[in-house]
């Protein structure tokens, strides 16, 4: 693995310099190039993408061959070659398993709740942060909201448990003052809001980076011109800021929908015993408990493959919608 990661690094650096030197002649002879000519022209760019492509091949495409186990009764001692083929019987079992459907339902509900409650928060935060004039205050606030991103989920859940749990300061205070306690950490009904709150606390600060970059790219002259024409704060926000960010927002939304079936494996795993399986089982934990832990790899692989196919459909659909609104989406049409 290390060979793949480190070897192309040096040529890529050289390639950057070359790209700078050759920009002009390449632009001039744009039409009428053979395929080899195009490769030659873009060689520096291609070289630059090489490390990423290699990583993708080694860690994404090669493991994909493992999905054949979804059509086998895979046995860890016989390997891929020695395990018998069973066709679609793993899928048949999967589609008749109520626990699987429940996990899918949980995943979609959680994803929906997070989309509505979580997605707008970093945008709002970025706008607020952008309006702070003092750069010192701004970097201080940024530092504070970034920090939880670097905590592990185990730590985040522990912090929530020790503050909001039944033995934490909140409930101790309520108890001492003769009030009813507030069951936050172990209530299955409100679990979806709890995990969304945790996700916001942990990741919202980190999520603003991209939006801040988009904000920085908006031409300041536009604001000055609009202000001169008498546009107020809200008008400038509506007619300049938001249209300037639209491309990025739509791109992130498309990516988010493609990831809709991934709603946090660790976060669910560490809170499973607190709220029970019914509230916390999502597709990823289903694959883990019924595939890996139960030594039933084929069943887990079938669930994983199904999730992958569904994610592909979702991302293509979202991309289509983005194109309909005249945005680039994942790629230009």
């Amino acid at each position: 693995m290390t060979v793949h990661e480190s070897a192309p690094a040096k040529p890529a650096l050289i390639a950057v310099e070359e790209a700078g030197r050759e920009a002009l002649p390449a632009g001039r002879s744009r039409r009428g190039l053979s395929r080899w000519g195009k490769v030659k022209r873009d060689r520096s760019l291609l070289l630059m993408t090489l490390p990423a492509v290699l990583l993708l091949v080694v860690f994404s495409y090669v493991p994909m061959f493992g999905t054949v186990t979804a059509f086998q009764a895979y046995d860890i001692f016989n390997g891929f070659a020695g395990s018998p083929w069973v066709g679609f019987s793993q899928f048949q079992r999967l589609f008749t398993d109520p626990i699987f459907w429940h996990a899918l339902q949980n995943t979609l509900v959680l994803s929906g709740v997070q989309l509505v409650l979580y997605f707008p928060i970093p945008i709002a935060l970025a706008l607020l942060l952008n309006s702070i004039m003092s750069s010192k205050v701004r970097s201080l606030v940024q530092g504070i909201v970034y920090l939880p991103h670097f905590f592990s989920w185990v730590l985040v859940v522990t912090i929530f448990q020790s503050v909001l749990g039944g033995a934490g300061p909140l409930n101790s205070y309520l108890r001492e003052h003769g009030m009813a306690t507030w069951d936050i950490m172990t209530n299955p009904e409100t679990f979806k809001y709890l995990v969304t709150a945790q996700a916001i606390w942990k990741e919202a600060g980190w999520g603003i980076i991209v939006f801040l970059a988009a904000l920085a790219a908006i031409d300041q002259n536009l604001y000055e011109a609009a202000a001169a024409d008498g546009a107020g704060r809200w008008r400038r926000l509506w007619h300049i800021t938001l249209p300037g960010m639209r491309g990025v927002i739509v791109l992130l939304l498309v990516l988010r929908l493609g990831n809709a079936l991934t709603v946090g494996f660790e976060q669910m795993l560490v809170q499973r015993d607190a709220v029970g399986r019914d509230a916390s089982e999502v597709l990823d934990t289903f694959t883990y408990y019924y595939g890996v832990v139960g030594n039933n790899f084929s069943y887990g692989a079938a669930a994983g493959l199904f999730k992958g196919v569904l994610s592909l459909v979702l991302i293509l659909a979202a991309n289509k919608v983005a194109h309909m609104f005249g945005e680039d989406g994942l790629y230009r049409r």
Binding site: F77, A167, E176, A274, G276, N295, N296
Partner: protein, 562 residues
């Protein structure tokens, strides 16, 4: 040390008669089955077993302060030593290793020590004349790491696999990845390794698969049980509660209100059911895996009425608000801290929790700290407790090793298995004197450096019979534990399929998950008991009934191991 397993072959019909009378505890010397098959899905017949098991040649160089107490059904409590012999005997004449380098993997329930510059590892390796690369991995998730390790064929040279992990590993087939040790150790061949010969035959039994010996016993003992119920003795004494008056689950529950003071952040109980109801099984008389009903039919733990009683009992405790909220939230990894700090007064735990190191951690939180265990309680009649095999964990050698390498590692194993009281035992358990440990009032105590670097690691590769000893200078703890265990062994019974190493068909390996999940919901009152009954119904149709006939077959062919 008594071998708990001699002459334990059970005749099915006779057994059924006994079970019908409810006299499980009385199985004496029984005849074997008339037509025994040599070995089956993992397991081995009694006649084959006698040919493979190493002979037991006890080492009597040191005498304990309190001898082991003979209990029921072959159970025997651990001998108690209150002081390390002042001039430890040498049991290994020359350096066992020939300079080889080997990888290992062992579970560890505790902080993983640094691997490089670890004075303890270096000291043991130097004494062994070999480089064992120690790679302890978190014991709580150890079972999850094993299937991928087998699948990728990345097994280390010497690996420890706990008995409770073999059930889902298709281990009858998996053992082919390991060295068959019978040509090296069976019968009298073990004489080449006198310290290994000091391990009783019963301890080796669960290391036998398909008629061959594969496992080196880890922490062998004649009184292994799943765990028990502990209380804070200092708090009980302060409140004037007599622990011996607590005889039933209801007695225990009645303490709830008195021991709970939410304003002080104190709750009476932690989780008292245990993972997969492992602890409650003793309290409510249900088997940990399979048992028989009055008609002699095999019934699984999940189908036992006792389990439903246990879940109802615990759900009521939670409802009454006498179980710590963090325990209700499933934060079991902090259970020991809650107990040490007095936030919880009664909990359930493995018996291994009761030792000098525990007292050290507990007294650090509260100088008055003292752990006590209730005498075995019971929901009805006299208590019983299921005995575990002579060893619950085994270590295996990789089949890719050459014959010479195997011999080198067995010689090393012989050193690691040096009994308590020997010079080698001190090295294996404590490292180098004045670096990682010092002798204090006749017992070894870890230095500050030792506290960081010494962890149970080499012991998990093979362990001599394990007496109760003084750790961290807490003499009372060794005495308390010895006395409690001496009483406990009187109630021991052998469960069905005792030490038989049966490999279940792999398609049933995940059917229990849904039941376990539902149990967690029911025991804290998130779901009614009917949800559990539904889950068990589903379990039966998904393979539980098939498993029953599978085990019926085993019972017909090989007996019950009792």
């Amino acid at each position: 040390m008594h071998d708990p397993l001699t002459g334990a072959a059970a005749n099915r019909r006779q057994f059924l008669a006994l079970a019908g009378l409810g006299a499980l505890a009385a199985s004496g010397a029984l005849a074997g089955c008339s037509d025994p098959k040599a070995s089956g899905p993992g397991t081995t017949s009694q006649s084959e077993l006698s040919k493979i098991l190493p002979n037991y040649i006890p080492n009597t160089a040191v005498t304990p302060d309190v001898a082991g107490v003979q209990g029921a059904n072959g159970a025997v409590s651990d001998a108690v030593f209150l002081k390390y012999p002042s001039s430890p005997v040498k049991t290994v004449a020359s350096m066992p290793g020939k300079g080889g380098t080997y990888t290992t993997m062992t579970p560890l329930w505790g902080a993983i020590p640094p691997s490089s510059g670890n004075g303890y590892y270096d000291a043991v390796n130097a004494a062994l004349g070999i480089t064992l690369k120690m790679q302890p991995a978190d014991g709580n998730t150890y079972g999850d790491k094993l299937p991928p390790l087998f699948a990728a064929d990345k097994l280390p040279d010497w690996i420890q696999i706990p008995g409770w992990n073999t059930a889902t590993l298709n281990f009858g087939q998996a053992v082919s990845k390991f060295v068959d040790l019978s040509p090296f150790l069976a019968g009298d061949k073990i004489k080449d390794y006198p310290n290994l010969a000091n391990i009783p035959g019963g301890a080796w039994q669960a290391g036998v698969w398909n008629g061959k010996l594969y496992g080196l016993p880890v922490y062998p003992g004649g009184a292994g049980i799943t765990g028990t119920y502990f209380f804070r003795r200092d708090i009980f004494e302060k409140l004037g509660i007599n622990p011996d008056s607590i005889k039933t689950p209801d007695d225990l529950a009645a303490l709830g209100k008195q021991l709970t003071s939410t304003s002080a952040g104190q709750w009476a109980f932690d989780d008292l059911v245990g993972d997969d109801a492992a602890y409650a099984s003793q309290l409510f008389h249900f088997p940990n895996r399979w048992g028989v009903d009055d008609a002699g039919k095999l019934i699984h733990k999940y189908e036992s009425p006792g389990l439903i009683e246990a879940l109802n009992w615990h759900a009521k405790l939670v409802k009454d608000g006498v179980v710590h909220p963090d325990a209700v939230a499933g934060k079991n990894q902090d259970a020991k801290q809650r107990f040490w700090s007095g936030k919880v007064t009664v909990n359930s735990d493995g018996t291994g929790a009761w030792n000098g190191d525990d007292a050290k951690s507990g007294t650090a939180a509260n100088p008055a700290y003292r752990r006590g265990a209730f005498k075995l309680m019971s929901s009805k009649g006299a208590p019983t407790v299921e005995l575990q095999p002579g060893a619950g964990m085994f270590a295996y050698l990789n089949a890719k090793l050459s014959g010479d390498q195997v011999k080198e590692l067995l010689a090393v194993a012989n050193y690691l298995a040096a009994p308590y009281g020997s010079a080698e035992w001190l090295v294996v358990n404590y490292g180098k004197e004045n670096e990682t440990y010092t002798m204090k009032e006749g017992n070894p105590v870890l230095t500050e450096r030792g506290g960081k670097e010494v962890a149970t690691s080499f012991q998990f590769l093979v362990t001599p019979p394990t007496p109760t000893t003084v750790q961290s200078g807490f003499v009372d703890v060794a005495k308390d534990y010895g006395a409690w265990q001496g009483d406990m062994v009187k109630y021991a019974v052998k469960p069905l399929f005792f030490a038989m190493n049966i490999t279940e068909p792999s398609q049933y390996s995940s059917i229990g998950q849904a039941v376990k999940d539902t149990m967690k919901d029911v025991k804290v009152g998130r779901k009614p008991i009917s949800a559990f009954e539904d889950a068990v119904k589903a379990w039966r149709s998904q393979g539980g009934d098939a498993l029953r006939s599978f085990y019926d077959d085993i019972r017909n062919k090989f007996g019950t191991g009792q």
